[in-house]
Amino acid sequence: MTAPEVSIVLITFNDAKRLPKALRSLTRQTLSSMEIIVVDDASTDNTADVVAKAAAADPRIRYVRLEQNSGGCSAPRNRGIAEATGRWVMFCDSDDEYERHAAKNLLLAVEVADADLGCGVVERVDSRTGKRVRWRENCHDAAVLESIDDRLQLIYDTVSVNKIYRRSMLIDHGVRFPEGILYEDQLFTMEAFVRSARIAVIPQTVYYWNVDRVSEELSITQRRREVRNVSSRIAVNRLIDAFLAEHGSESLRAAKAVKFLSHDLYLYLAVVLDVDDATALALVEELLPYVSSIDLDGADELRPLLKVALYHLLLGDIEGIRRAMRFIKWSASVDGTVQIRDGRELWVCTSDHPAGEVGGHPASWWLDVTLQGIARVPITQRRYCHQLADVSEGISLLEGSTADYLDSIADVDRFSLVALRDGRVVARAEVALEHVTPLHWEWRAVEELRPVGAISIGDRGTLAIELTFGDLVNTSIIRASDVRTGTTLPLRLGLGRTEGLHLESRDFGAVGWRVIRRSPLSLAGAGIRKAWWRLPGTTALASALKRLRRDTLPRWAGSIGSRLPVTDSAVLSCDHGRRYGGHPRAIGEYLREAEPGIRQFWIDSEGGLDLPDDVTRLDAASISGAWRLARARYWIDDFGIDPRIRMNPRTAYLQTWHGTALKRVGSDAPDWSLTPARKRQPTRANLARWGALLAPSEFFAGTTARAIGFDGPLVMDCTPFGDAVLAASKETGLRARLDLPSHRAVVLYAPTRASVRTGESKLDLEAWWRAFGDRAYLLVRSHPSDPLSVPARWNNAVRDISNEDDFASYLGAADVLITDYNSVLFDFARLKRPVGFLAPDHDEYTRRTVGLYLDLERSAPGPVLRDNAALHSWFVGVLNAEDSITDQRRQDFIPMFAGVADGTGAARAVAAMRGLA
C-alpha cells in the first residue's frame, strides 16, 4: 500500500462519548487519501472499543495507546508525529471536529504553493446554542507567504489544530510539542511558522472548536486566577523568546513582544478587575519579573489605556490597573480623568510615581492617551464610570460612585438614577450627591425608582445615571464587577401594587434589571392565568380572539370607514413606519404650520418612534389604525402602504418615494426578470393607488420614476427633505444642538445597502479613527439591513447615527460626505460640499452586476476612491481645502441630477395633494 497524503493525529483521553463524532468528521472528509491515527493517552473508559469499531468500518483508522497517562496534549501528539507515514500531518482533539472539506482545502493550498505549512480558520462553536464564531479570522486572508515575517499577525493564531504540516519539516527541525507544560501549542506553532520555507493561508474554515461558553468562562477565569497558570504561560513565553533569539528575525521578536503585552498580559490584567486584592497582588508578583525583563518599547502600539494599566503593573498599583482596565472591559467607561499638557492628553495617575523612568520610559510616555482623545468626547457621547456600591438583599435605595470626568460633575444641572429599556427611561429616582475625593463623587438614591413610562412584568433593561447639562443629556450605564444575584428592589407599579426590580449582571459589567412579580395580587393573577391556559381550548380561543382583533375587525373597520366621508386628517409614514423622517416628516412639519386644523397621524410599526406631541401614533394593523387610515383626507408615504389596508376613494395619496436612485432599480435592475411579479417593489397594487409622485429632478423622473413603473402625475422639482437639509445647514447653533464638535470637520459616512449582510464596513473605521480622530468627527449612518458596529472606544471621533430620525439636521451639519452609491448623495450635493465615493467594488458594480444611472467618474461631484488609502489622501486634501473636483462640476451636478431645492417643496407638495382630493 502506498503512503497516504495526510496523517491526521487525533488525540483522546477518556472521551469515548464524543470520540465517534470527531472520528466521523475525519472519515467524512472529501479528501480520501489519509490515515487517521488515534493516540489514546491511556484512557480508562471504553475508548479502545470505540476506535476498534470505527476501524472495522474504515481501514484508514489506526489505534495507538500510550503506556501511561501523560496528563497533557504534548506527549500524545508527539507520538502521533512519530507514527505518521503521510507526507503531511494534521492534529485534531477528540472533543472537536474538522470541517468536511478541511483536509482537501489545506492540502490543495500547500501543494499549489509548495509550502511547508498551511493554515485555515477555526470556528468556535458554542455547544449550548450551536452558534459559530470565526476566531482570529483577520489574519487569514488567502496568501502564500515566503516566511512568517510577511504576515506577523499570524503569530496570534496559536493553535495547532487548524494547520497542515509537512512531516519532513517537523522531522528535520525536530519541531515537537514541549511536554509537561500548559500552552504547548504556542511554542509548537511558533517553531513551525519559523521553520517553514513557505506558508499557505486559506480563508476557509477548517476546524470546529466546541466550547461550552458558560463553563469555559468560569473555568478560564478560575484558572487564570491560579498562580500556576500564570507561571506556565510565562514559562512558555521564555521558551519562545529563547527560540526566537536564535532563529527569529528582529521584527518577529518585536511582534512577539507586542503580542505578549496585548494578548497574554491583557488577560491577566483583566482578571485583576474581578478578583480580591490578595489574589491580584499574587498575580502581579508572578507577572512582574518577566514583564520587567522584556523590552517594553512595543507598549507604544498597545491601546492607550492598556499601556496605562501596564504602567500601573510596573508600579505595583492594583487600583491603578483596575481603573485603566475598566475603560477596556467596561466599554470605554472613564474611571478617572485626563489633563492636557503641551497639547498631549495625559491620564491622571493617583499613585506615587517615581521621578525617574519606569521600564525605560518616563511617566509622561506611559500616561500619554492622546490617541484616545478622552477630553474631546462630546458631552452626550461620554461614558461616565458610574459604579454601583455593594448591594444586599432587603435594601430599597441604591448607592454608588461616579468618577469625575474632566471635573464636570459640579456643572451638572440634574443628576438622576434611571432605569432604561431599549434606550428609553422607564423609571427614575432622584439622588443626593457628595464630593468625596478629587476624583470621585458618591451618590445615594433619596427615593425608590418610580415608573415614568410603560413598564411591566418581564421587562428587562439596564440601570443608568442621567446627567443634564443645559440642553444636553448624558446617559451612562451603571456598572459593577459583580452584582450579587438575588437583590430585588421594590417597584411601585400602581396603587398598592409593588412588584420587584431584580438586579443582574450583564455584559461589560453593566447592571441589568428585570421586573418580577412580587405583589400578592399579581402573583395570584399569574397563578390564575397559568390555570386558565391549562384549560382545554383556551389556546385556540386566544388565537381566535387575536385574529378577530388584528385581522377581522380591522378589515371591517377599514371597509366601513372607507365608505364614509373623509375627515380633516393626514396619515404619514416613513420607511414602512420604522422612522420619523424623510419627505413625509418635512411635509408634515409644514402642514402643522400651514394647516393646523388637519390632525396628523404617523404610522409607528414598532411602537418606539419619538413623535412630537401634536402628532398621534398609529398602529396600522389595529382596529383604530385601519379606521383612521380609511377616513384620512391625505396619505403621505415614501415606500408604499400595504395594499391590504383599505383606502377611501376620496383620499389623496401622495407618494414621495425615499430617494433618487443611483443604483439601477425596478425594471432596470438585473434581477427584475428573475423576481416574481408579486415580489417586485413597489407592487402593481401599490402603484395603482398613488395619486401623485414627487420628483426632485428631471433625472429622477427619467430614471427612478420610470423604472419603478409609475406613469401618473409627477410633482416636478419638489424635494421637501432637500429643503429641510438646506434649512438645517443654515441654522445657527446646529452643531451645539446636535452636540457636534465645533473645531473639527464633521464627516458623514453613509454607505448604501449591501446585497448581502456583511457587518463589514468598506470604510476601515479603526484606521480612520487613528488617522483623523484629532481633526475630524465621523458620523456613521449604516443601512438597517447591514448594520455596522461602532465600538464605544472611538467615541472621541466616531458616532453611530443610524437610528437618529432627524437625519436632515445631521446632513445639514456635515462638512463632507463619504458614500458609495447612497441616494443621500443627491440631497447632500445641493450643499456644494466635498463628496468622496468610497467604492472598492465600483468597476465590478457598474460593469458586471447592478449598474448605476450615472457615470460617477464623469459626472459625480467627487472622486471615486477605490481603497482606504486613496480615501485618506483625498481627505487630507479636503482638510487642506484642495479637493480635486472642480467647483464647476459641483455646480452642474445640482440642476442635472439632484434638482434645485428652493424651499417651497413642502408647500407645493401640499398644493398638489389638494389638487388630488
Binding site: T30, R100, V850
Partner: protein
C-alpha cells in the same frame, strides 16, 4: 468497465443555455471514456436535439410535466425520486454532476452514498443573493464534494457566504463567443440561448 457518471439538469430538452451546458458535458465526458447518463428531472416539449451522435444516454425522470395541484406535485415528486434512486442503484457508484439547483434538491432526497457529487450554479452570486437561490444553494451545496461556479469572483463570494467547497470553471465556449479561447463544446448542433432570459442574462444588464 468504464466509470459511471450521472449528469443532472432540471430538464434536458428545452432550447437553452442550461441544457446546452449539460449536453456538452455529457458528450465531452462520454467521449473521454465515461459511461454517462444525462438526466432531466422533468420533460419539455418540443424536445430539442442537441447533437446528432450522442455518446451518452438521455433519461427523463418524470413522464410528464409536473401538475399544478400540490397533491399531484407531491405524488410526481415521489415517483421522480424513486426513478432517480433506481438509476443510482444500478452498478458501481461514480460521479454525479448536478448542473442546476433544483436537480440538486432532488438528489439530496435520495441515498447516494459512495458517489462523488459535483454541484454547479450558473448565475452570479449577486443574482443568487437577490432572490431565494442563495439560501437554497447554501443548504443544498454545502456538503457536495465540489461546488463549481463560473467565475473566480463568484466562487469567492459563495465561499464568504459560508461554503468551503467552491471553485470555478468557465462554461465551454460557443463558436463566435468572446470566450473563444476556452475549449469548444463537443456538440454537433447549435442550441441558441433565448435572449434576455436564463443563464447569464444578468451579465448583460449593465450598459
Amino acid at each position: 468497465m468504464s466509470a459511471r457518471m450521472i449528469i443532472m439538469a432540471n430538464n434536458i430538452d428545452e432550447v437553452g443555455g442550461a441544457q446546452r451546458v449539460a449536453h456538452s458535458l455529457a458528450q465531452g465526458f462520454a467521449q473521454r471514456g465515461f459511461d454517462v447518463d444525462l438526466v432531466g428531472v422533468v420533460p419539455h416539449e418540443p424536445r430539442h436535439r442537441f447533437t446528432d451522435d450522442p455518446a451518452y444516454r438521455s433519461i427523463t425522470l418524470a413522464e410528464r410535466p409536473l401538475p399544478n395541484d400540490p397533491a399531484g406535485r407531491k405524488r410526481a415528486r415521489t415517483a421522480i425520486l424513486r426513478s432517480l434512486q433506481a438509476l443510482i442503484d444500478q452498478g458501481q457508484p461514480g460521479i454525479i454532476i448536478t448542473t442546476q439547483l433544483w436537480a440538486m434538491e432532488h438528489l439530496e432526497e435520495v441515498d447516494h452514498r459512495g458517489w462523488r457529487i459535483i454541484g454547479q450554479y450558473h448565475s452570479s452570486f449577486e443574482a443568487a443573493a437577490g432572490g431565494r437561490d442563495l439560501a437554497r444553494a447554501l443548504k443544498s451545496y454545502a456538503d457536495v464534494d465540489s461546488f463549481v461556479l463560473l467565475t473566480h469572483e463568484d466562487a469567492e463570494a459563495f465561499r464568504r457566504a459560508g461554503l468551503n467547497n467552491t471553485c470555478s470553471i468557465p462554461n465551454a465556449g460557443t463558436p463566435g463567443d468572446p470566450h473563444a479561447h476556452l475549449p469548444r463544446s463537443p456538440l454537433t448542433r447549435e442550441g441558441s440561448a433565448v435572449p434576455g432570459r436564463g443563464l447569464g442574462a444578468h451579465r448583460r444588464a449593465a450598459p
